[in-house]
């Protein structure tokens, strides 16, 4: 189960298991983001390389458009995946 939606405060909420079968759904949502944004990962339980690639593509697009992408409230396992991938140095992770 994976959900991606806009929260009341404008943050984008990621929840559940972001695996390879969720790429199309997540990419379609994030392609609609046209300004700087914050991804609230407090509900994100799992992410694989497929999910990382979607976030990386989105970061590259937003950066090219002079916007930013911030990730907040990552659980420890998710933070480990970003660290191992070297993406913790590329993303603005809080």
């Amino acid at each position: 189960m994976f959900e991606i939606q806009r929260g009341d405060d404008g943050r984008i909420l990621l929840n559940g298991r972001f695996d390879a079968s969720q790429v199309e759904k997540a990419q379609a949502f994030l392609d609609g983001v046209s300004n700087s944004c914050t991804l609230d990962c407090s509900g994100l339980e799992y992410i694989s390389s497929a999910g990382l690639s979607v976030l990386l593509q989105t970061l590259k697009r937003l950066t090219a458009e002079s916007h930013s992408l911030r990730l907040i409230q990552l659980r420890e396992n998710i933070r480990d995946v970003f660290r191992i991938s070297g993406l913790d140095r590329i993303f603005n992770v809080e």
């Binding site: 298991r17 695996d19 694989s48 497929a50 990386l56 191992i84 070297g86």
Partner: protein, 137 residues
């Protein structure tokens, strides 16, 4: 634990269910369980994406040996596979040079201790294993 899985991303739910069913029978650290799920997905999706030919199902086995956890996939009737063709990710690359993709094998090699490919008579066997600390055994 052994399971046949359809060669499809739609089978990921079945894959996670199989891994979780197995993990429920074992006492393993939460980090090891997380890594097992991720390694299983990465190996499975790589088989689907990169192996040419192949039957409509692949075979998964998960086994706990005295000192290690072993995840193995067997893919039958596939063309020879060259592990050296797997892209190498430089985790230190800056954003402008990072390309989406290629991270799966990198994650497997960092989360587990060994990754081994064996090809014989049309069968590709990929095995990943993680040493268990003395407190985990």
């Amino acid at each position: 634990m052994e399971r046949w899985l359809p060669r499809s991303l739609d089978a990921l739910d079945d894959l996670f269910r199989a891994v979780d069913d197995y993990l429920a029978t074992e006492t393993l650290p939460q980090k090891t369980a997380f890594a097992a799920r991720l390694v299983a997905e990465e190996l499975f999706t790589n088989l689907i994406r990169h192996n040419r030919g192949g039957r409509d199902q692949v075979h998964l086995s998960i086994e706990r040996r005295p000192d290690r956890l072993v995840i193995r996939f067997d893919d039958f009737d596939v063309a020879p596979f060259d592990p050296a063709s797997t892209p190498v990710v430089d985790a230190a690359q800056p954003l402008a040079e990072r390309a989406p993709g290629g991270l799966g094998v990198h994650l497997v090699k960092n989360l587990f201790d060994e990754l081994h490919y064996e090809y014989r008579d049309g069968v590709l066997r990929v095995t990943a294993s993680k040493r268990l600390e003395s407190g985990d055994v």
